[in-house]
Each structure stands twice: as structure tokens, then as C-alpha cells.
């Protein structure tokens, strides 16, 4: 629907092609160095890349979901979450309802995955689910749905595959060089043409060191841009940027790091899952600084792309983040709405925590026993007995 998908994707795709070229140049020179054959190097690079791409394309979402121990839920499991996802699906005009997953993790984060809009999933940690009120949850889900709608998921997973291939190739090449020597020197044929050999070797070494760094920088640049765009779309879908802003605030103030996150899966999360801080944070981060994202969202005077772009420009004093075509196509005032959720203080965190853990215990097949004294017992599926003594009042409860 929205123009920015096309024109912004074009820029991103150019960067991806840049990464692809980098991979081929790397393969070319490594081939020359080790196999005495540039085509051989290209073919090896290509094979690794194709295998990884196919795996990422067909299995990427299930791998990601299974390493993060995500549990798929239905409407009955968590009606509030389901309804919010459905609302955002409608607001974004997504054709198919994405699958919804809950990750049993106290860290605060969420991500979207799936190769295209028909095979998409959103996942949220149980920690985040219990900390957010309805408006904030809606903001987070809107951001994730935007990633699906803007087709960021496929783009970013293809990017991380390219990055992964480059990193793997350079890593193995440098190990072989350090410990095994090059193919040529082993065969001791380098008596002639030593100069050319030396140049190739130098280029290969430079590539081994810098290709992964460049690839990472490109990757991070693409990722950050997609984050801004997902924020903008999220604000448009909810008409309430404050929801996402306040959710991001909660997320960034948490000190718990996502357990199952790694470098490759980082851009899938709503906020950088790693909490380390450093000078190079701006260049080498998959996400823009959260404080800045919050500031942009809070200074929006309307819910349209034009408003987001204006807010972005006010803070950066530079170029637009959203392409001109998208801005003209969506020109027209879109007002913000007011808060729907109850006042912040009334958010019953305990109740939300129990609501969420209730789902998780059920999905993990724990049996529930309510004792007369007010204690609720959750019995692990491995328990073989037929009755259980209540640790509070000492009475014997039958297991059903």
C-alpha cells in the first residue's frame, strides 16, 4: 500500500547488493589465494550463501522461534494479546492474521518473523506482556506488524545471511592462513611471479579483516533505518505514538537481557536485546538509540508519516527519514487519538503477571490444583503421584 515500502526498499536493496558484491570479491580473492583458482572461491562462497539463504528462507522463523523457546497461543489463551494483534492486523491492512507466540522470559522484548506476509509471526516475552498496559502493548504490536507489512523480516534475514557468510568465510580463511599456510606455499610453486602472489595475499588479508566490518556496518545501517520506519508506521496504525514511546521507555529501563538473543537475531527485536554500552554504540547498533526514538515519537503533532518525518527532522536537523514519494502520497492531516487505557497507576501488574503465567503453565502442561486454603498449586507434568499435600495447610488434594 504505502509508497515508502517501494522506494525505501530500493535503497535498502542497493545496500544488500553491495553486501553481495563484497561477498563475491572476498570469495574471488580467497579462491586465488588458497585454491589458486578464483572461480573455485566464488563457487564455495556461493554454495555457502545459497545453503544458508534456503535454510533462513524456509526454516528461519521456526529456528528463531524454537531457540527462543516461543510458545504459540490462540485467542482463548490470551484474549487481550490476540485482540490487539487482530486490531493492528486490520489497521495495517495485512491480509493474514500472523501467528502469535509468547516467550517465557522475564526480559522485556518482542520480535516479528516469517519470510512473507502470509507466513508471519509476532512473538513477545512474558515479561513485556505483563508490564504493558493496553495502549503500550498496541504500540509494540503495531511496530512489529509494521516490520511484517514493510517486508523487513525477509530483507533483514537475507542481510544477516550475507553477513553470516562473509563472517564465516573470513574467519575460516584467517584460521587456515594462521595455522595451515596457503595452498601455494604448501605446494611450493611460488618461485615465479612472487610479486603478483604477494599482492593477492595482501588484498585477501585486507578483505578478511575489513569485509566483515563493512558488512556489519551496512547491515546495521539498514537495520536502523527499518526501525525508524516501523516506528512511523506503528504510530500511523495506532494513531497514538505515546503508546509505543512509553513502552520503549519501560523496555529501556529494564536491566534484564534477553536470554536467547544473539547478533543475528538482534534486529528482529523491538529494542536492542543487548544492554552493553560503548562509544561505538551508534555505528554498531542494530537499533537507533531508544531515547531518540522516544523523543521523536513524543514530538509528533499528528499520526501521519509527514508528522513523523517532521519530528525526525526537528531532532536531527538533517535529511528526511521517510522518502519524498511516501510523504506526498500520504499528505493529509491525520489527528492523534487520546489514551484508551486506564491510568498508569491502575495497571494491575500482579493480575497481568498471573494472566501471563497462567497461559505459560497451561502450555507447558502443568496441572493446576486449587486448595481450600487459598493456595494454587501447579504440578509439573512429570509428577507421577495421584495426590498432593498442600504446603500451606497440610491437607491432601487429589490430582485430576
Amino acid at each position: 500500500m504505502w509508497e515508502q515500502i517501494r522506494s525505501n526498499r530500493n535503497k535498502s536493496i542497493i545496500l544488500v547488493i553491495g553486501m553481495g558484491l563484497l561477498l563475491f570479491v572476498l570469495g574471488y580473492f580467497l579462491g586465488l589465494l588458497f585454491l589458486d583458482n578464483a572461480t573455485g572461491g566464488l563457487i564455495i562462497a556461493l554454495i555457502i550463501w545459497v545453503i544458508m539463504s534456503l535454510t533462513a528462507y524456509f526454516q528461519g522463523d521456526s529456528i528463531l522461534l524454537s531457540i527462543s523457546k516461543a510458545r504459540k497461543i490462540s485467542r482463548e489463551d490470551h484474549p487481550r494479546l490476540y485482540n490487539v494483534v487482530e486490531e493492528m492486523k486490520i489497521a495495517s491492512g495485512l491480509e493474514k492474521m500472523p501467528d502469535i507466540y509468547i516467550i517465557d522470559d522475564p526480559a522485556l522484548n518482542a520480535f516479528a518473523t516469517g519470510r512473507d506476509i502470509k507466513h508471519a509471526s509476532v512473538a513477545i516475552t512474558s515479561g513485556l506482556l505483563q508490564k504493558l498496559n493496553r495502549d503500550e502493548l498496541q504500540g509494540v504490536i503495531a511496530h512489529e506488524i509494521s516490520h511484517i507489512k514493510n517486508r523487513d523480516v525477509l530483507l533483514m534475514s537475507m542481510c544477516s545471511v550475507l553477513l553470516g557468510t562473509i563472517v564465516i568465510l573470513s574467519w575460516y580463511a584467517s584460521r587456515i592462513m594462521l595455522f595451515g599456510g596457503t595452498g601455494r606455499s604448501r605446494r611450493d610453486r611460488s618461485s615465479g611471479g612472487g610479486g603478483a602472489q604477494l599482492i593477492i595475499m595482501l588484498i585477501a588479508i585486507v578483505l578478511m579483516i575489513f569485509a566483515p566490518i563493512f558488512a556489519k556496518l551496512i547491515y546495521f545501517a539498514i537495520s536502523r533505518k527499518r526501525e525508524y520506519l516501523a516506528d512511523a508506521s506503528g504510530a500511523l496504525y495506532t494513531r497514538y505514538p505515546e503508546g509505543l514511546a512509553s513502552a520503549l521507555e519501560k523496555i529501556s529501563s529494564s536491566e534484564i537481557q534477553v536470554q536467547a538473543a544473539n547478533n543475528a537475531t538482534a534486529p528482529m527485536y523491538i529494542d536492542n536485546p543487548f544492554r552493553k554500552k560503548g562509544a561505538a554504540q551508534n555505528l554498531s547498533s542494530t537499533h537507533p538509540p531508544t531515547a531518540e526514538r522516544i523523543r521523536i515519537l513524543r514530538s509528533m503533532s499528528g499520526a501521519s508519516y509527514v508528522d513523523y518525518n517532521q519530528a525526525y527532522k526537528n531532532i536531527h536537523n538533517t535529511h528526511s527519514i521517510i522518502p519524498e514519494t511516501a510523504l506526498t502520497a500520504s499528505s493529509g492531516a491525520i489527528p492523534l487519538r487520546s489514551a484508551q487505557s486506564e491510568k498508569e497507576g491502575e495497571l494491575d501488574e500482579k493480575k497481568q503477571a498471573r494472566e501471563t503465567s497462567d497461559v505459560l503453565w497451561r502450555l507447558n502442561e502443568y496441572k493446576t490444583v486449587d486448595c481450600g486454603c487459598g493456595v494454587r498449586l501447579r504440578v509439573p507434568p512429570g509428577y507421577r503421584g495421584t495426590e498432593i499435600k498442600c504446603p500451606r495447610c497440610g491437607s491432601i488434594n487429589q490430582l485430576k
Partner: protein, 187 residues
């Protein structure tokens, strides 16, 4: 000879621009149609829910005949307007929404009814549907905005005028009560 080739080149480029603009317009128009059918689905769902809701409420609310009848009447009018244009339909649906919100205010006076499991689940379903209606309306209006912009802005307006594309109508909410309605959020 060169001049001929240049002219042919220009014509070909123009033709490509024309066709792609035209296709873009058709895509936008389909999107509006699709968004409209989304609203339709949600509104129908609401129409189907109301008779059950009224029936359940009747058993408890003995002094609110008028309010209940107003809801039923508004629902029937809205259903009849389903085949009409966007404007007429938006009007009828706003009336229905305000009739419903009046009913939900009155319900507060009947604790027995509020305790009724069947009514509770109907009310929850209704609230969820109201939310979905407002978001599908939002998506429809966003789509119309894009479509209309495309029709009115240069250069696509040239193609639109030549091939007879017409701007679509927004689904406007008229009754002030409507804006209040989808606020309930116990889900």
C-alpha cells in the same frame, strides 16, 4: 531519421509511464474496495450480535423497553443501509453505535444482568467488534486518502482523468457519541 527514432522513443516512454500509472491507480482502487469489504465484515458481525444481546437483556431490563427497541430499530435501519452508499451507511452505523452506547450505560443499573455469563461474553464480543470496526474504518480512510491523493495530484491525475477514475468517499463518523464508544477495553 534520427528525429523519427527520438519521437518513437518518447512515445514508448510515455506509454510505459501511462500504463504503470494506470496500474498503480487500479491497485489503489482495489485496495479501497478491499478495505471497504473489511468494514463490511465487521459491521455484519455487529448486526448479528445485537439480536442476541437484546434478547438476553430483555429478561432483566423490564423498564427499558424504549432503549432496547431503539437499538433493534437502529440495527434494522443499519442493516437495510448495507446495500447503500458510503455516506448513508456511515450515518446509519453511527446511529446504531450511539443507541448501543446508551444501552450499555443503562446496563450499569442491572447488576443481575451484568452477572449473567451469556451477557458478559456477548458484551465482550461486542467491544472487540467495536474496536475492529474502528480500525477497519481507519484503514479504509487511510486507503481512500492515498487513492484520492493519487487521483488529484500531478502527474497521475492526468491518467486518472483520461481513464475516468473517481475519488472515493471517506467513512466519516458524524455522531459525537460514536467517538466515545470504542473506549471500553476490558479485553
Amino acid at each position: 531519421m534520427l528525429a523519427v527514432w527520438i519521437i518513437i522513443g518518447i512515445v514508448v516512454i510515455l506509454a510505459i509511464v501511462f500504463v504503470s500509472t494506470y496500474n498503480g491507480l487500479v491497485g489503489k482502487r482495489n485496495q479501497v474496495k478491499n478495505a471497504w469489504s473489511q468494514i463490511d465484515v465487521q459491521l455484519k458481525r455487529r448486526h448479528d450480535l445485537i439480536p442476541n444481546l437484546v434478547e438476553t437483556a430483555k429478561g432483566y431490563m423490564h423498564h427499558e423497553r424504549e432503549t432496547l427497541e431503539a437499538v433493534t430499530k437502529a440495527r434494522n435501519i443499519a442493516q437495510a443501509a448495507s446495500s447503500g452508499g458510503v455516506g448513508a451507511r456511515a450515518q446509519a452505523e453511527s446511529e446504531l453505535t450511539s443507541a448501543l452506547s446508551r444501552l450499555l450505560v443503562v446496563v450499569e443499573r442491572y447488576p443481575d444482568l451484568k452477572a449473567n455469563q451469556n451477557f458478559l461474553s456477548l458484551q465482550e464480543e461486542l467491544t472487540a467488534t467495536e474496536n475492529r470496526i474502528s480500525f477497519s474504518r481507519q484503514f479504509y480512510n487511510d486507503s481512500v486518502l492515498h487513492y484520492n491523493n493519487k487521483i488529484q495530484m500531478f502527474p497521475s491525475n492526468v491518467v486518472a482523468n483520461m481513464t475516468g477514475f473517481k475519488t472515493s468517499e471517506f467513512f466519516e463518523v458524524t455522531a459525537p457519541a460514536e467517538r466515545e464508544a470504542p473506549k471500553v477495553s476490558f479485553q
